[in-house]
Symmetry: C2
Subunit: 232 residues, 2 copies
């Protein structure tokens, strides 16, 4: 069975998956980068971003010392990071994960946060209200801009993924929409010991128990607590 | 400096501190007992409830095997449980923690969940909208029913506590009111790997960052993640 999987979705201890005031300088909102501090030192992240790391990820707020580490760290955090890239044949991401632009596309200049050779290496379906031609990048990544809803996007992604699973990226609104529709098979959260105070709440108004989800795995590391939710 | 401290406040991974539909059978709401499963096996809990445990705590939904353990468990969970009773000279609790009755007191029959000899052994100030004479129990516990707001209750409790600290119990609304007023000095949360889906949310609409709180301690145990928030 082809699954729809969310991985490495960082949340604060007060339940926010992004801080307030998202912008080009703060793609995860103010303070939001703190939710991913378990991810940056991992071997998986360092391998993905070993060339010109600032340009390829666009995370200007990531501290210097987290880049260029020799090989990156292995262990619990890296195991969970690596799982997120296993057996993935296509991605679905929200417009807000693709970039900071809101409303109509002014032109085709913005090509995502990830540079010329994005980390996906497969078809990526971007949910948007504004049409735009597909964008083929180096390394096998093609961004498709879809305007006809989450179910159609999932069908397209499933077909593109062939036998493999589909990974669902952020932002929060996108993950919430797929959860509310009961379409997410597995949700890996990394709950960090930081407060954000405001921002985008993953849980507010979303009754995950009624939607059939349970916590099926919990592994604390020194930096975060990994939690896997699945439908029972 | 006399502190106002919250201890052992259980929350679910989706941020609820009590489940839906609180009642005599479900003092923490449906599913809410799951938030306290780290606490029941501890030596601290077992010592407090070593006589007729069902009567003294009123938690009919607590599984049998969690009572009558020889001495209870020591370790991380017990260390945090024990902290909550160190240097405490008075308590403040909400009406909903005192009992399941809502609205006016019909009579003085309800004397709390804790039997004739409650676990407090000091003055306990109960926040309510309905006056009632003080209630003196065995073992040094006196319940005082206060109707003139959280700040007056804190003054009364501080005086009663003399040099010691004041412990703030639940329920959620009470803790939120004191947090919003910036009066809580220390908040120990135990975040359990369970979903509740709905119920009373500790965080919704409460910007703990703006209120000056930070997470100053995080200790995962096998059952829960202990988090201590304090004002910086």
């Amino acid at each position: 069975m082809q699954k729809l999987r969310v991985h490495g979705f960082g949340i604060s201890l007060d339940g926010y998956s992004a801080g307030p005031n998202q912008s080009l300088d703060h793609p995860l909102g103010v303070g939001g980068t703190g939710l991913m501090e378990w991810f940056f030192p991992t071997r998986t992240f360092q391998k993905m971003h070993n060339l010109e790391p600032r340009d390829t990820v666009g995370l200007q707020s990531v501290p210097d010392h987290l880049f260029g580490q020799e090989g990156g760290e292995t262990g619990i955090d890296d195991d969970f990071a690596a799982r997120g890239f296993e057996n993935i044949g296509a991605w679905i991401i929200g417009r807000n994960m693709f970039g900071p632009i809101r409303g109509a596309w002014l032109n085709d200049d913005w090509k995502g946060w990830w540079g010329d050779n994005p980390v996906f290496h497969c078809d990526v379906f971007v949910l948007t209200h504004y049409t735009r031609p597909p964008l083929t990048m180096k390394g096998g990544t093609t961004f498709h801009f879809l305007t006809d809803g989450i179910e159609t996007a999932l069908q397209r992604a499933r077909t593109a993924a062939k036998e493999k699973d589909v990974r669902l990226g952020g932002g929060t609104a996108t993950v919430r929409a797929y959860l509310r529709a009961g379409l997410v098979d597995q949700l890996h959260l990394a709950q960090s010991p930081v407060l954000l105070g405001s921002g985008e709440s993953l849980f507010t108004g979303l009754d995950l128990i009624s939607l059939g989800y349970r916590c099926v795995e919990r592994v604390p590391s020194s930096r975060t607590t990994h939690l896997v939710l699945a439908r029972s």
